[in-house]
C-alpha cells in the first residue's frame, strides 16, 4: 500500500514530533521504520470495508463530573518541576510568529 519510506519522510515526521535526530539516527530510523511499515502491510489482507473502528475497548458514554471547585496547587508546586521559571511564570525561549 505504501511507497518506500524515504529519509525525507522521516525527517518531516521528526519535525512534526519535535524530535532532533542525528544523521545516524535518521538513517537507522528510516530502515527500521521502513521494515515495520512493510510488516504492517499485512493488514491489507483483511477486508475491513463493513467494519466499524474500535477506538476504545470499553464502550462507555456520558461520564461527567459536577461543576464543583477543587483546590488548586500552590504556585510553587505548579512550577516546581519546570526547567526554568522566574518564580511566577514558566520561562521559555522567545516565541516568534511562525512558531
Amino acid at each position: 500500500m505504501t511507497a518506500r519510506l524515504t529519509r525525507d519522510d522521516v525527517a518531516k515526521v521528526a519535525l512534526l514530533g519535535r524530535l532532533k535526530l542525528s544523521a545516524d539516527e535518521l538513517e537507522r530510523m528510516t530502515s527500521q521504520l521502513g521494515r515495520v511499515l512493510e510488516y504492517v502491510d499485512i493488514l491489507n489482507e483483511v477486508d475491513t470495508e463493513p467494519v466499524q473502528p474500535l477506538a476504545h475497548p470499553i464502550e462507555l458514554a456520558n461520564v461527567f463530573r459536577d461543576d464543583i471547585e477543587r483546590e488548586c496547587l500552590p504556585r510553587e508546586e505548579a512550577l516546581a518541576n519546570a526547567p526554568k521559571t522566574d518564580g511566577r511564570f514558566f520561562v521559555v525561549p522567545a516565541i516568534l510568529d511562525g512558531n
Binding site: 461520564v63 461527567f64 461543576d67 464543583i68 500552590p74
Partner: protein
Amino acid sequence: MSYTTVVGLEVHVQLLTRTKLFCGCINRFNPTQPNVQTCPVCLGLPGSLPVMNRHAFELALKTGLALNCTIPALTKWDRKQYYYPDLPKGYQISQYDLPFSSDGWLEIPTDQKAPESRRIGIIRAHLEEDAGKNFHDESGRGGESLVDLNRAGTPLLEIVTKPDIRSGTEAHAFLDELKLLLTYLEVSDCNMQEGSLRCDANVNLHIADPNGGTIATPIVEVKNLNSFRGVEQAIEYEARRQFEQWKETGKKFGEVPKETRGWDAERGATFGQRGKEEASDYRYFPDPDLVPVTIEETWREQVRASLAEFPAAKRKRFESEHHLSLYDASVIVAQGRPFADYFERVAAACADAKQAANWLTQDVLREMKERQLAIETFPITADVLGTLLERVAARKITVNSGRIVFAALLDRSVDSLPPGIEAVDAIISEKGLAITSGADELAPIIDAVLAANAKIVADVKGGKQQAIGALIGQVMKQTKGADPQVVREMLQSRIAAL
C-alpha cells in the same frame, strides 16, 4: 467594477462555569496572579486524566439549540496536536468530525429601526479547552517569553459561521446579536477585554466579472481582533485592500495559499504575518482518555425547555405585549437580560409600559452611564421606580415632580442602602410635590395671582392666550405640586368670568 465582500467569522467564547472543562480548578480571569489556578490535570502532568464538566456541556448544548443547530445523537472528543508553550499537553482537547452541534443559523436585525432581519448560517459549534497565555518580550530584543497556565483548560465554545456576512457593519451586528444571545442564556459574559470572546474573520471578495459570473479573491484570515468595532473596521479595510490588490495582481482564490493577517487598531490597517515554517498537520484522533457523549431526545428537550427567552423573541414580545416601538424594544433588550427584566418589573408596577420604557431609555440609562453602574447595582430598584411611575401615571405628581423624586432617591442612596418603596411617598410629601388638585386650596392662590397681575389678565382677555403661561407659572411656583392642567383650566374660567 462592483464587488461583494464575503465574510465568515470564527468566534471563541469562554463559558460561564465555576470550574474548568476537565478539572476542578476555578474558572476565573486572574491576570495579576499567574499560575495559581492549576492542578495536575490542567498542567498536563504525567498520569493526570480529564473528566468532562457536565455544566459546560449543558451550556454548550444550550448554545447549539439557541443557534438552531442540529444536535447529533453522539458527539466525541478529539486531540488537536501542536506544540506551543501555552498548551501543556502538546494537544488541545477539541472536537473534530463529530461536533456537538452543526448547521444552524442566527437571525440578526439589519437595522434597529427597520424590522427586516437576516439569517447568518452557522456551520458548527464545538467545545474545546482554552490554552494558557504567553507573554512575549515587547522590547523587540527577542527576550524570553513567559507562560501563565491559569486559563489553560477553560471551557471554550468555537462557533463558525457560513460566509454569509456581507460587510463590516453586518459582522458587527452579528457579534452584537451573538453576544446578546449568549449573555441572555448566561452561557458567557462575552467580555472581549478579558478575552472571554475572541474573533477571527475570513474575508474575500466576489468581484463581478465583466464577462459574466463572479471572480473570488484569495481568502485572508484576520486575527488579533479585539473589539467589535475592530472587526468591522478590519473587514472594511480588507475589502478595499483586496480590491486594490486584485486590480494589481489579478490573483484569484486558489492561486495563492490562505494568508493570515493581523489587525493594527492604531493604524487602522491589517498587516501580513510571517507564515508558519511548516504546514500545520494537527493529527486529530479520538481522545482515548475521554468517552463519547450520547444526547438522547429527553435530555436535549430538557435543555431546550430550560432556555431563557431569546433576545429576538423578547423584542417581538415587547412590541406586541407592551406596545413599545421596535426602537425602544431594541434599546432595552440590547442592555442585557437584567435590564430587560428590570423594565418588565417597572412596567408591571406602574401599569404603563410606554412610560416605563421612556424613563428607562432616558433617565435610568443616563444615570447608569454617569455613575458607571450596572442595572443590578442601580440604587433605585424596579419596585421603587415602578411605584414612582405609578404616582405619575395616576397624576398624583407631575412628570417634573417625578424627576425631582427620582433625583432625590438617587441622592438618598449615596452611602446607604437603596431606598424602599415607602421613600417615594415620603419624598413627595416632604417636598410637597403632591398635586393639589383641590379647588379649595387653589382658589385663594389664583385669586391673589390674578389680583397682582392685572396687565397680564387684560392681555389674556384681549386674546393673547399665550400670556396665560406666565400666570400658570406663578401659581405653580406657589403650590409646588399643582397639576398644571387643572391650574390652566381654573385660570381660564376665572378670567373668563371677570
